[in-house]
């Protein structure tokens, strides 16, 4: 059911998440509301364990909320099973992870090809090669992740995220495993490509400097989301 209000690419309403722990039920997210518009870059800041990654997982449809709902590219995720949500993500959603999450048995090029093939994109090869070229790694196309530095691996991950031209990109601490200089380069690349592609970005980080380069910043505190100036 479409509940697109305006041009929101992802919207959460009354989003809550509880988990069972040794001490009983634990509430991680308390009825959050969030709306990210097309092309908008939103940073979510918070300390470790504040629930940032849980929120990211719910927004991307990787997990199910215990209350409230999420609309991704206008589609309500509540009624979809895991396969339905996967089909919705395919080709529309990109990811950049803190620990890169490249498939170790595939080359750089094959890693970039993967989301294109899963989305059934024709001419996937040239698109993947172009994506690698944009991140400056055309020469490393046949290298395996273990043959690349951390920064290079994250650049391949960025190429993989943008190759299918997603409507929204979720990034989880994308510079968390990189030194400052490499982190800066990766941030530049990520934001440049996002601008060029016009994709929305939801970025989870505890790096205030990285967050400052986004259109909007929100803070996650004790399961609540608060706007930052």
């Amino acid at each position: 059911m479409a509940t697109d209000s305006g041009n929101a690419v992802v919207r959460a309403q009354g989003l809550g998440k509880e988990v069972s722990g040794p001490a009983g039920r634990l509430t991680i997210l308390h009825g959050l509301d969030l709306c990210v518009k097309h092309g908008e870059a939103v940073a979510i800041l918070g300390a470790s364990g504040s629930g940032k990654s849980t929120l990211l997982g719910l927004l991307a449809g990787l997990d199910q909320p215990t209350q409230g709902g999420v609309w991704l590219t206008g589609q309500d995720l509540t009624g979809l099973d895991e396969d339905g949500r996967a089909a919705l993500r395919s080709g529309r959603v990109g990811f950049v992870f803190q620990d890169f999450q490249l498939l170790p048995t595939l080359t750089a090029l094959e890693n970039v090809l993967l989301p294109l093939e899963l989305a059934g994109v024709a001419q996937a090869g040239p698109i993947a090669r172009a994506a690698l070229e944009r991140v400056g790694l055309a020469a490393r196309a046949t290298h395996y992740p273990r043959q690349l530095s951390g920064g290079e691996q994250q650049r391949v991950a960025i190429a993989r995220a943008f190759a299918p031209r997603p409507a929204i990109l979720f990034a989880d601490e994308p510079t968390g495993n990189l030194d400052q200089e490499t982190g800066e380069q990766v941030t530049d690349l990520l934001l440049d490509l996002r601008n060029a592609a016009g994709a929305a970005l939801v970025l989870v980080t505890h790096d205030a400097h990285l967050a400052s380069r986004c259109d909007r910043r929100l803070a996650m505190r004790a399961g609540h989301l608060e706007p930052l100036a």
Partner: protein, 832 residues
């Protein structure tokens, strides 16, 4: 299409990354073991079935233990059919001073009617087709006769030999004999003679043990008409053979032996299955992150399941073909070990075993690997964000059921008998449970030792005791291999030796058969003159059992193959006033002087096999007429006394008038072999049998057979090593972390290497101890319950089993974990 493309690409990449090596090794090993046996069995079966009618060298053969009446040949010729006659009997030839038992076949002109003989001019010369058998005055022999006679090659004009009273020339090597397939495994080498030479040898008399064959071939309808006629006129002792029904007992024996080898090969699957399951589990752990990412990128679960299954299928087909190739190469080893049991070259195998390889490989892979691998599709995509969300739990029930189903399917298929399959599986399951239980106890014991040990010893033993599940799997897996190999070694060497040593030192070691009535006196005098004490020269009358009471004896009515054989063939009867000294009457009573002669005394084992009871009236067909009498006693006979004994004995008044040959046995002390050569010169028609030589032949056949099975069990041992390697791989991350911490705390490489050696040598010693103990126990039970011999403790067996296993597992395990020691500790600490 996407699924196939991704599956193949991922498979290729998995291969290049080395993730699949262990799984490949375990699966290829299983398939290789199964197909090696399948290829070998296929070749043997094809040797038996070779060229249809060649099996009996004719379209139809009339076989009898007595001369076949001329009317049969006349009838066949009258119907326009070709005929030939062959006679087969054992005899001894003399070449120089060397005597050798041979299986003589005398063939008339025209033999063989179907198929062709192949001969070589000398050893090593190329075989060539021959139009018929040897001309009069010449004989041809199997290649193996030459070394037995101490000959390196034939003389140009032929090597002189004496057969009975004739001197003949050995001129050709017999490379192929079409109807040899009917007696594929023969103890004595073949000597082919022209039938025209037989009368002069003096070897064939009305009482000699000779098998007569009338070979018939020609147009189908005429053969059928002859078969119908022969059926009406067949003497009770004769039978008609056609290619389809020739020698069913041979086909049964070969089928039984191949089935045994196939089931032995399945033990490899059982052990390798553990390695396959462990390697698959590791694959799941290694691929969980990749699958989580793919799910994030939008891959639906059904696509992932399809990719997993397709990848597994493609992998299974490729590895099964590779394993089949290995099996094809490995079967040459089996042929080398057991192939010379067969008198002729085995034909090349058919392609049928390739299907065996594919089916085995796929069933093993799907059974042992699929349950853990399909779990991959259940990985939550959230794991890409949160590494603490673990890999999917091992599907214990699914994996057990999958493995049991695959194993049951393969055992049922290979055993060809559901009941046997169930019994085998139950036996295997019980053995494994016992082994696992015993390992657990031993591991606990090692734990007790660990608490009292220091340094590398404590570290090493901890490696074993802190991972009890892995220890049980590894030690039990390897223990099964050790058990199988040692058990065969015990049976092959110790049991036979124990039995032979259990014989009295002066037990007869020579038999004389085919003694003609007129030779009895001279033989008795000769033996007395040589100081040789015989066990009595006893008469032997041949008769076929035709009725038990009112019931006609029909071989097909018996389920037991031995009963079928006894019912179908003539056996040896005798007559005597008193029972032999080693006979004991266990039911009824022996006849006394003056009692009516119509009585039979029957050996109790025979009575049980054929269902003969005290009081039953037995009817035998003897020398063309019926002899009938009731059973008045049952006897227990000590066959291993090696005295001459008979299944059925009557008072002299009943069988004394029948045509008889005589038989005796005696002990010839070592160094007095010249007595036999002299005996052969004086009484050439007597056939001596050397018990030691025969036992030697039996042992050779047993050893070859056991070696073939041992060869198959080497695959099981290799599978045991793979289980250990898979176990090491499963604990690699943990070990890496432990080693890094220990190195960081100052442990030297040498100390860690010592700890690894202690751990794996201890595991190997435990496996060896367990395997040796089980083998010894089984052999001891077999010796006591089945063979009734006393088996002495064999320390060499334990030394080989325990020390060999300790050395092998210790070396392999230490080598497999050594790379951990050469990595910088920081790497291990970083990886956690």
């Amino acid at each position: 299409m996407t699924a196939w493309r991704l599956a193949l690409r991922l498979l290729r990449r998995d291969w290049h990354s080395g993730e699949l090596y262990l799984l490949t090794a375990a699966l290829a090993l299983t398939v290789a073991a199964m197909t090696a046996v399948a290829f070998f069995g296929d070749r043997v079966e094809r040797a038996i079935q070779r060229q249809g009618g060649e099996l009996i060298a004719s379209d139809l053969t009339v076989e009898d233990g007595h001369p076949i009446p001329d009317a049969f040949a006349d009838q066949a010729q009258g119907l326009g059919l070709a005929t030939a006659l062959t006679l087969e009997f054992p005899s001894v030839i003399l070449a120089g001073d060397t005597t050798q038992l041979v299986q003589v076949k005398a063939a008339s002109r025209g033999y063989p009617l179907r198929g062709r003989l192949q001969v070589q001019a000398n050893l090593g010369a190329p075989p060539a087709d021959s139009d018929g058998g040897p001309p009069p005055g010449e004989v041809w022999a199997e290649p193996r006769l030459l070394p037995l006679l101490g000959l390196e090659r034939l003389d140009d004009e032929g090597t002189q030999i004496a057969l009975g009273e004739s001197r003949l020339r050995l001129t050709r090597i017999l490379a192929y004999e079409p109807d040899r397939g009917a007696n594929l495994v023969q103890l004595a080498p073949r000597l082919l003679v022209n039938a025209a030479d037989i009368p002069a040898t003096g070897l064939v008399t009305p009482v000699s043990r000779v098998r007569y064959n009338l070979l018939v071939a020609g147009e189908g309808a005429a053969v059928q008409r002859f078969r119908d006629w022969a059926g009406r006129h067949l003497p009770p002792t004769a039978q008609v053979l056609d290619p389809e029904h020739a020698r069913p007992e041979l086909a049964t024996a070969v089928a039984g032996a191949s089935r045994f080898l196939r089931l032995a090969a399945l033990v490899t699957l059982l052990v390798a299955g553990a390695a396959i399951a462990l390697a698959s589990r590791r694959l799941v752990e290694r691929q969980t992150d990749a699958v989580a990412v793919m799910r994030c990128l939008g891959a639906p679960r059904h696509l992932l399941t399809r990719i997993v299954v397709l990848r597994l299928l493609a992998f299974g087909v490729l590895v099964s073909l590779f394993g089949t190739l290995l099996g094809y190469l490995a079967q040459h080893g089996l042929v080398l070990l057991a192939g010379d049991l067969f008198a002729q070259d085995l034909p090349p195998p058919s392609a049928a075993p390739v299907a065996v390889g594919l089916l085995t490989g796929l069933a093993a892979l799907l059974g042992f690997s699929l349950p853990p691998l399909v779990q991959l599709a259940r990985v939550t995509p959230l794991r890409a964000l949160r590494r603490d969300l673990g890999t999917p739990r091992a599907p214990v029930l699914g994996a057990t059921l999958g493995a049991a189903a695959a194993l049951a399917l393969l055992v049922w298929w290979q055993a060809g008998d559901a009941q046997l399959a169930v019994r085998l599986l139950a036996g295997l399951g019980a053995t494994l449970l016992c082994l696992a239980g015993a390992v657990l106890v031993l591991v606990r014991l090692a734990g007790w030792l660990q608490s009292r040990a220091r340094g590398v010893w404590r570290l090493g033993l901890a490696g074993l005791t802190q991972r009890p599940a892995a220890a049980v799997l590894q030690v039990a897996g390897f223990g099964v291999g050790v058990l199988a190999l040692l058990l065969l070694a015990v049976v092959r060497v110790d049991l036979l030796r124990a039995w032979q040593e259990g014989l009295p030192p002066d037990a007869p070691n020579r038999f004389l058969i085919n003694i003609q009535p007129q030779d009895v006196g001279p033989l008795r005098d000769f033996l007395a003159s040589q100081g040789v004490i015989d066990s009595g020269i006893l008469p032997m009358v041949r008769g076929r059992l035709t009725r038990i009471g009112d019931r006609a004896v029909d071989p097909d009515a018996y389920a037991n193959p031995r009963a079928q054989r006894l019912a179908a063939r003539e056996f040896n009867l005798s007559y005597a006033d008193r029972p032999q000294s080693d006979n004991q009457v266990v039911a009824g009573r022996w006849w006394g002087p003056g009692e009516p002669p119509e009585q039979f005394s029957v050996e109790e084992g025979l009575a049980e096999t054929l269902g003969i009871r005290l009081g039953d009236r037995l009817t035998f067909w003897v020398s063309g007429h019926e002899v009938s009498a009731p059973v008045t006693s049952l006897r227990q006979v000590r066959w291993d006394s090696f005295n001459v004994n008979f299944f059925v004995v009557s008072p002299p008044g009943l069988l004394g008038a029948e045509a008889a040959s005589y038989v005796t046995s005696f002990h010839l002390p070592p160094g007095r072999e010249a007595v036999m050569a002299e005996l052969q010169r004086r009484l050439p028609s007597v056939t001596p049998l050397d018990v030691d030589a025969l036992l030697g032949q039996v042992r050779r056949v047993m050893e070859r057979g056991a070696r073939a099975v041992e060869y198959v069990f080497v695959f099981t041992l290799a599978a045991g090593l793979l289980v250990m390697l898979a176990g090491i791989q499963a604990t690699l991350a943990q070990r890496r972390g432990e080693h890094a911490v220990l190195r960081a705390l100052g442990a030297s490489r040498r100390r860690l290497l010592g700890a690894l050696a202690v751990e794996f040598i201890a595991a190997g010693l435990l496996a060896g101890l367990l395997g040796s103990a089980c083998a010894e126990l089984t052999a001891w039970l077999l010796a006591g319950q089945v063979f009734d011999v006393e088996l002495s403790f064999n320390p060499r067996l334990w030394a080989i089993g325990v020390l060999g296993s300790g050395a092998l597992v210790g070396l392999a395990g230490t080598l497999a974990t050594y790379p951990l020691l050469v990595r910088p500790p920081l790497e291990g600490l970083r990886r956690g």
